[in-house]
């Protein structure tokens, strides 16, 4: 019965081919440092899921943001767990993505033909940092408020266009409801969509080129 259903689907979707190409592809003899990319992907998915769960209660408005998070932490069953995972997962993701980049650099995996994978990886690192920056404001507590004040002020120190950048980030000259709303929008829509898209290309390139060998002493 299951075999029949599977065969029917396989004939139309090519499940066997997908399995062979995606999961059963040949790997060089590696070590644990080679798992950091998968760890980053796992963290991205986990941040996505816990983030979706948080939006069930979180309200991106100066009047309610802080209270809604207090409610998540103290009122909702397991709210502390969901937000805890999202909070610590965010820090861990920046760390893992960065160490992943270091691994690729030290094993020279960025060289031909994988330059594009490397460049997209830089984009992924920057987007991950962007997620951290926008997410930091959302609790709307003192630390979040002043961190974003400082962060946007730094962006505003760019010569000539600094003031424009500052206003574009804040949605005006001051940190306001508009800032919170646009950071929220960037945090849950714009940056994650860009991340997901670039991760797709990143993974495609990895599967296309295969993983690089660990350099030997002769290299």
């Amino acid at each position: 019965m299951w075999k029949k259903i599977y065969d029917w689907l396989d004939e139309r979707l090519g499940l066997q081919d997908m399995y062979a190409n995606l999961l059963d592809r040949p790997e060089p003899k590696g070590n644990w440092w080679n798992t950091l990319g998968s760890a980053s992907l796992f963290l991205f998915v986990m941040q996505g899921l816990t983030g979706i769960f948080l939006t069930v209660y979180y309200t991106p408005s100066p009047d309610h943001a802080y209270d809604s998070i207090q409610y998540i932490m103290e009122g909702v069953a397991f709210g502390w767990l969901i937000r805890g995972i999202h909070h610590w997962g965010a820090t861990l993701m920046v760390l893992v993505v960065f160490v992943h980049m270091l691994r690729v650099f030290f094993t020279a995996s960025f060289k031909y033909p994988r330059e594009l994978t490397w460049l997209i990886g830089i984009g992924l690192l920057l987007l991950t940092l962007g997620m951290g920056f926008t997410g930091y404001l959302l609790p709307w507590n003192q630390r979040a408020f002043w961190a974003t004040t400082v962060g946007t002020q730094i962006a505003g120190s760019v010569p000539f266009i600094g003031e424009f950048i500052l206003k574009a980030l804040r949605g005006g000259p001051d940190l306001s409801a508009l800032t919170l709303q646009r950071f929220f929008s960037a945090h849950i829509w714009i940056l994650p969509l860009l991340l997901a898209g670039l991760i797709g290309i990143h993974l495609f390139l990895i599967i296309k080129h295969g993983e690089s060998h660990f350099p030997s002493k002769e290299d």
């Binding site: 069930v56 209660y57 069953a77 397991f78």
Partner: protein, 165 residues
């Protein structure tokens, strides 16, 4: 595994992966479900006695309107809900009261007493009830609800029991 009692390495990995994966899935999945349905599991407010007016102010045979609000904490906000009804005094005996809830039994709009027609009229779908709450016309499935529990205080006030929720 065929024939032999020893588990092959491959099967052992499969089984342990399944068990560990299932345990992790349950450890995350169950809290997630509770997280989502938590507000539905919260208890409403308490049953409280609410004063609706003095017995001596109620005229025999004339519906005496009353209303009150109750505040419910929902999440991080307080929501006030309005309630109301009509007390119909039938005699000098304070137990001989009929206290109706003005919430229409059709779709919960508030009915109003129309003295000319001697009917409660619902503005939403033209439901009509007689003075004792029986359905005269329109879509309601049952008569107006009653506040069954009421009492008179020592200073002559009528109190009704407002149920939780």
């Amino acid at each position: 595994m065929s024939g032999s009692k020893e588990i092959s390495r491959r099967d052992f990995i499969k089984v342990t992966t399944g068990i560990v994966g299932g345990a992790i899935g349950a450890a995350i999945g169950l809290p997630s479900i509770f997280y989502l349905i938590d507000p539905a599991l919260q208890e409403g407010g308490k049953d409280i006695w609410v004063s609706i007016g003095k017995f001596e102010d109620m005229q025999v045979g004339v519906p005496y309107p009353f209303s009150f609000t109750r505040v419910q904490v929902n999440g991080w906000e307080r929501t006030s809900n309005s309630f109301g009804g009509y007390a119909i005094r039938k005699s000098d005996n304070p137990d001989d009261l009929l206290i109706l809830n003005s919430r229409c039994t059709h779709l919960a709009c508030t009915v109003n007493w129309n003295a000319e027609a001697q009917e409660y009229i619902c503005p939403c779908h033209d439901a009509a009830f007689d003075i004792e709450g029986r359905v005269l016309g329109g879509p309601p499935p049952r008569p107006l609800d009653k506040f069954e529990d009421f009492r008179m205080t020592e200073d002559g006030r009528i109190e009704i029991l407002s149920k939780a929720g």
